[in-house]
Amino acid sequence: MQTDSHSPAIFELRIDETAKHHLLTMASWGLIIGIVAIIKYILSVIEYIQTRNRVNYQFGDITVSTERNNLGGMIFTISIGLLVNYFLYQFSSLTKRGITNLSQVDLNRGFASLRTYFAIIGVLIIIALCLGTLGILMSGMNLTN
């Protein structure tokens, strides 16, 4: 079977049997992550629907009742999660296809999806760190005023 890449192996590195095994395992774990994440999102939506208006917190013989109003936050979280898991699924399926069919193009596309996956998570962590730092600074300013 001939690979569909016409460029030479400039770097002299091969995807040998051990590397293929690692890549296939990675792809399988990635697929499981995506499935588990989608199940969690579905359960979150079900939980939200069940507790949409009011949640009672029980502390011994005292009941504290609060209203839940975090639809926007849930939608935002699920949207980001689906975006991240889409690229993870792409990496998983393309890498498996590339290794199974000895397709350099599919393998390259799989690695590109992996790169995008890492990039999105990295950017999200940067945003979270910036927001956390801002929050600490603002709370510190409030305490001093």
Binding site: P8, I10, F11, R14, I33, I39, K40, I99, L107, N108
Partner: protein, 155 residues
């Protein structure tokens, strides 16, 4: 006589060509960034846990009078342990990503096949680690939902 290509010839294997090398290198760069940021994030969580414990201790006996809440220091200790646990979990996962990033970058630079394999093993461990944690989280969520529903908490 036409010779059959051998299974070990370049026709029958995947190589790290120019395109693959570029993509892997950029994926490794992002993995390194993710690893470093994750370690910083984990350290922040650990710091927050220690800060929360100190804050709760300084609040004194405000909660001590309420018998169902327990002492403020106990709450602070519980919060500190949870934050430290989250921080350590985050840091361990980030170390796997950093390992992948460093090894693949080194492998492409030095054309070292063993280091490339080790790099792929690193990201395999990264995915395996987070998969197990997510499955545990999912089980906890299911148990929590089932417990809440059966006890009539959500009414």
């Amino acid at each position: 006589m036409e010779q059959q290509p051998q299974p070990s010839s370049p026709l029958f294997q995947l190589n790290v060509d120019a395109n693959t090398g570029y993509t892997l290198r950029s994926a490794a760069s992002w993995a390194k960034i993710l690893g470093i940021l994750g370690i910083i994030f984990g350290l922040c969580f650990i710091g927050m846990g220690i800060l929360m414990q100190n804050t709760m201790n300084q609040m004194g006996g405000a909660f001590d009078e309420y018998k169902y809440r327990g002492s403020a220091s106990m709450m602070g200790n519980v919060a500190m342990i949870m934050y430290i646990l989250i921080g350590v979990i985050t840091m361990i996962g980030s170390l796997f990503a950093l390992s992948f990033g460093n090894r693949v970058t080194t492998a492409i630079r030095t054309n070292d096949q063993n280091t490339l394999r080790a790099g792929f093993a690193g990201v395999r461990n990264y995915f395996a680690y987070w998969t197990i944690l997510m499955i545990i989280g999912l089980l906890i969520l299911i148990i929590g939902l089932a417990t809440g529903a059966s006890s009539g908490l959500y009414s």
